[in-house]
C-alpha cells in the first residue's frame, strides 16, 4: 500500500496531518496560490449558500401557498377573481407558466370558453412532453437547492388528465378532435407505465389506476358512428377494467355488444360533471427519515476527520391530499319531478392522484435524501479543501452554513390545483326535440326547497348531445356548457 506525503512521520514522529492539527507545522510557503484557492472555495460556497438562503427566505412560499387564494376564489364561484390572481402569478412566476396555465384552462372551461381552454391545454401538453426529458444542468441545480428549481413537467396523472380534459373541451366545441385526444389518453398512460421500468425490473407504475374517462369518450363516439360498435365494445371493456366500480358498465357493454345507439326518433344526452374539490399537494416533514439521517451524520461526525452539518432542518417532501368529495349528482329532465338518474363516477381523480403519489413516494424521498448527501458531501469537501480541521470555529461556521443550506429546501408542491375530485357521467336517451336539463344547486333556506340550475338542450335523431357542468361543492360554478358537434 502506498503512503502519501502527509503520512510520512516528521522528526517529532508525527505525520503532517497530525502536526497540522496540533499547529506544529507551517503550511508550505511555496503554495500561497493553493491556499488562496482553498480560501476562494470557502468564500464561493459560503456566498452561494448565504445568497441562496436569503433569496429563498425572501420568497420561500411554495406553490401550495400561492394556490390557496386561487382555489378559494374558484371554488367559491368567483371566476373573475381567480382569473386575475392567476394572471398575477403568471406575470411573477414565468418558470411555472405550464402549471398555472392548467388552472387558467379550468377557469376558461367553466366560464364557457372551451376553445380557449383547449388551446391552453394543448400548450401545456406539448410543454410537459418536452419537459419530461431530463436536463442535467437543471438536475444539478435541484440537487444543490430543491426540487422547485426543476421545470415542472407534471405528475403522471396530470399528463394523462390534460389529454382527457382536451377531449372534454373539444367535445364542447366542434368535437372533431375529441376521439384523437381520447386515444392519446390511453397512449400516454401506456407510455408512462412502460417508462417506469427503465431503471429496474420492479416497476411501481404498473400499479397505477388508469384514467377511464378517455376510453369512455372513445366508446361514446364510436357508438355514435353507428358503425364502429366493435371499437365501442373494446373501449367499454377498458372502462370496466380501469374503473371497476362504474355502475353503468354492464348496461353499456350490453348495448354496444348487442343493441344499438338509440331507438329511431331518439337521440342521446351525455351529461358530464366535474364534481368536488380535487387533490392538491402540501409540504410534509419526513420525521423518521430526518431522525435517521441525524443519527447517521452524528456517527460519521464522531468517527470522521471532520464533522458533518447536523440534520436539524427536516427533510420535506410533497404529500398529495384528497380534496372534498361529493356524492353523485341527480339529473332532472324537463318538468319531471323525479330525477332521470344519478351521475356515476367515471374517473376518481383524488384516488388516482393519491395512489400514484404513494407508488412513487420512495423515489421522491430518495431524491430528497440524495440531495442532503450531496450538500453534506459538499460541506465536507469544502472543509477538506480549506483544511480548517484545526480551527473549530471555522468547522462550526461551515456546519452552520450547511444547516442553513439544508434549511432552505422546500417541498415541490406544484400541482394542477383546480382539478375536480371526480368526473361523473350520465347517459340519457331522449326523444328528438327541445328539452331542459337541470341539476340541484344549493338550498333556498327561506322557502325550504332546493334550488335548481339548468339549460335548454336540443336532441337530434341518432346523435349525441353533450352537457358539461362544474360542481366543486353543492353549487354550480361558471356556466353549463351544451354542445352538439
Amino acid at each position: 500500500m502506498g503512503i502519501t506525503n502527509a503520512e510520512v512521520p516528521n522528526d517529532e514522529g508525527m505525520t503532517k496531518h497530525e502536526a497540522r492539527r496540533l499547529g506544529k507545522v507551517k503550511l508550505c510557503p511555496c503554495l500561497p496560490a493553493m491556499c488562496s484557492l482553498r480560501h476562494s472555495a470557502f468564500v464561493i460556497l459560503s456566498s452561494f449558500v448565504i445568497s441562496h438562503s436569503s433569496f429563498l427566505c425572501t420568497g420561500c412560499a411554495t406553490h401550495a401557498d400561492h394556490l390557496r387564494d386561487i382555489r378559494s376564489a374558484y371554488f367559491a364561484g368567483d371566476l373573475d377573481r381567480a382569473e386575475k390572481l392567476i394572471d398575477v402569478e403568471l406575470g411573477k412566476r414565468r418558470g411555472d407558466a405550464g402549471v398555472l396555465k392548467l388552472e387558467r384552462a379550468m377557469i376558461e372551461l367553466c366560464a364557457g370558453r372551451p376553445a380557449s381552454a383547449e388551446r391552453l391545454l394543448r400548450e401545456v401538453r406539448d410543454e410537459f412532453d418536452h419537459l419530461e426529458q431530463r436536463d442535467v444542468a437543471e438536475e444539478t441545480v435541484s440537487m444543490l437547492t430543491d426540487d422547485q428549481r426543476r421545470a415542472y413537467a407534471g405528475e403522471d396523472y396530470e399528463k394523462v388528465l390534460v389529454r382527457a380534459f382536451l377531449s372534454l373541451a373539444n367535445l364542447m366545441t366542434d368535437g372533431q378532435d375529441a376521439a384523437a385526444y381520447g386515444l392519446q389518453v390511453a397512449a400516454k398512460q401506456q407510455e408512462i407505465i412502460q417508462a417506469g421500468c427503465v431503471d429496474s425490473d420492479d416497476n411501481p407504475k404498473l400499479a397505477y389506476q388508469r384514467v377511464a374517462v378517455g376510453a369512455y369518450i372513445n366508446a361514446m363516439l364510436h357508438e355514435a358512428s353507428h358503425s364502429n360498435y366493435d371499437d365501442a365494445e373494446r373501449a367499454i371493456l377498458q372502462v370496466a377494467e380501469w374503473q371497476p366500480d362504474f355502475r353503468f358498465k354492464a348496461d353499456d357493454f350490453e348495448r354496444v355488444r348487442y343493441g344499438r345507439h338509440s331507438e329511431p326518433g331518439n337521440g342521446v344526452l351525455y351529461v358530464f360533471a366535474l364534481v368536488g374539490r380535487g387533490p392538491y399537494k402540501e409540504e410534509a416533514v419526513e420525521v423518521p427519515t430526518s431522525a435517521a439521517l441525524l443519527v447517521a451524520d452524528r456517527i460519521l461526525s464522531v468517527t470522521g476527520k471532520h464533522t458533518l452539518p447536523p440534520t436539524i432542518a427536516p427533510i420535506k417532501v410533497p404529500r398529495v391530499v384528497r380534496g372534498s368529495s361529493r356524492s353523485e349528482i341527480p339529473v332532472f329532465v324537463d318538468n319531471d319531478p323525479e330525477p332521470r338518474g344519478k351521475m356515476e363516477t367515471i374517473t376518481d381523480i383524488g384516488k388516482i392522484a393519491v395512489q400514484q403519489a404513494e407508488a412513487v413516494a420512495p423515489q421522491v424521498l430518495g431524491r430528497a435524501i440524495a440531495r442532503r448527501v450531496v450538500k453534506k458531501g459538499a460541506i465536507y469537501a469544502t472543509k477538506e479543501a480549506v483544511n480548517r480541521g484545526s480551527n473549530p470555529l471555522a468547522e462550526f461556521g461551515l456546519d452552520v452554513i450547511g444547516v442553513a443550506w439544508e434549511a432552505t429546501e422546500s417541498a415541490d408542491t406544484r400541482c394542477w390545483g383546480m382539478l375536480p375530485d371526480t368526473i361523473q357521467v350520465l347517459r340519457i336517451e331522449l326523444p328528438v326535440g327541445e328539452h331542459r336539463v337541470s341539476f340541484p344547486s344549493g338550498w333556498n333556506s327561506i322557502a325550504g326547497i332546493p334550488t335548481f340550475c339548468g339549460e335548454k338542450i336540443e336532441i337530434s335523431d341518432g346523435r349525441n348531445t353533450y352537457v358539461l357542468a362544474c360542481f366543486p361543492d353543492s353549487r354550480l360554478v361558471g356556466r353549463i356548457l351544451v354542445s352538439q358537434p
Binding site: T4, D135, H226, N228, D231, R234, K305, A381, G462
Partner: protein
C-alpha cells in the same frame, strides 16, 4: 491517503448523484420519409409495417378474383355500365390489439384501391354512415336478409343503389414463449351479394415476432 480517499469519496458521491440525474433535454424533431424508406416496425403492437401489406395483398386477391369471374348484372347508375356498385360497411377489429387511428386509414386505403380498380364503384362512406344511422342497424345485423333489404332501401332512397356489401375484419392469434410472443395478423375481406346472399372471402396474413431482447429473434427463428 486517508484525506485523499475522503476527497475522492466525497467527489464520487457528488458526481454519482449528479450523473444519476444525467441526460439532456432536446427538442423533438421529425422528417419526411421518402417513398422507398422502410416503415418503422412497432415494438409492441402492429402498425404501418403490418397493416399496409395486409391491405395490399387482400385487396389485390379480391380484385383479381372478381376481374376473372363473370359478375352479376350491375345495379348501374348514370350509365356506368360494367362497374359493380359496392357498399363498404367498415373495418371490424377483432384482434387483441387496439388499432387506434389506423382504423379510419385502413378503411380509406381499401376504399381507394377498390374505387381505382375500375371493377367496382364504391358508395361514399358518408352515405353508408347516414343509412346506418337512419335504419339503426349495426353492421353485423346486415347479414340478415330483412335487415339487408332495409339498408339497401335506405341507400336507394338517396340515389345510392349497390350490388355488394363489403366487410373488412382484422383478427389476431398469439403464441407465447417465455415472455416473447408471435402474433399472426389476418385481414379478411368479405364480399356479400345482396341479391343472392352469396359471399366471397379473401384474406391476407402477416406474422410478427415480439421479443424482450434483440437476441429473441435468433433464439426463436434462427439466423
Amino acid at each position: 491517503m486517508q484525506r485523499s480517499f475522503a476527497r475522492r469519496g466525497v467527489a464520487s458521491v457528488i458526481i454519482l448523484a449528479l450523473a444519476a440525474c444525467g441526460g439532456c433535454r432536446g427538442r423533438q424533431h421529425a422528417h419526411v420519409l421518402k417513398q422507398n424508406d422502410a416503415n418503422m416496425v412497432g415494438s409492441h403492437v402492429a402498425g404501418a409495417e403490418t397493416y399496409k401489406p395486409l391491405i395490399e395483398e387482400s385487396v389485390a386477391k379480391l380484385l383479381g378474383r372478381e376481374a376473372e369471374s363473370a359478375g352479376i348484372q350491375p345495379a348501374g347508375l348514370n350509365g356506368q355500365v360494367g362497374c359493380k356498385r359496392i357498399c363498404f360497411v367498415g373495418v371490424e377489429n377483432r384482434s387483441v390489439e387496439e388499432i387506434g387511428d389506423f382504423k379510419e386509414q385502413i378503411y380509406e386505403i381499401i376504399d381507394s384501391h377498390i374505387s381505382e380498380s375500375g371493377i367496382f364503384q364504391s358508395v361514399s362512406k358518408r352515405f353508408v354512415d347516414a343509412a346506418l344511422m337512419e335504419t339503426r342497424l349495426r353492421p353485423d345485423q346486415l347479414f340478415l336478409p330483412n335487415n339487408r333489404r332495409m339498408f339497401a332501401a335506405a341507400l336507394e332512397e338517396v340515389g345510392q343503389p349497390f350490388d355488394y356489401l363489403l366487410f373488412a375484419k382484422i383478427t389476431s392469434g398469439t403464441t407465447g414463449s417465455n415472455g416473447d410472443y408471435q402474433r399472426d395478423y389476418l385481414l379478411t375481406l368479405e364480399l356479400v351479394n345482396i341479391q343472392t346472399g352469396d359471399n366471397d372471402k379473401e384474406s391476407a396474413t402477416l406474422r410478427k415476432g415480439y421479443h424482450k431482447s434483440a437476441l429473441g429473434k435468433f433464439k426463436h427463428y434462427g439466423l
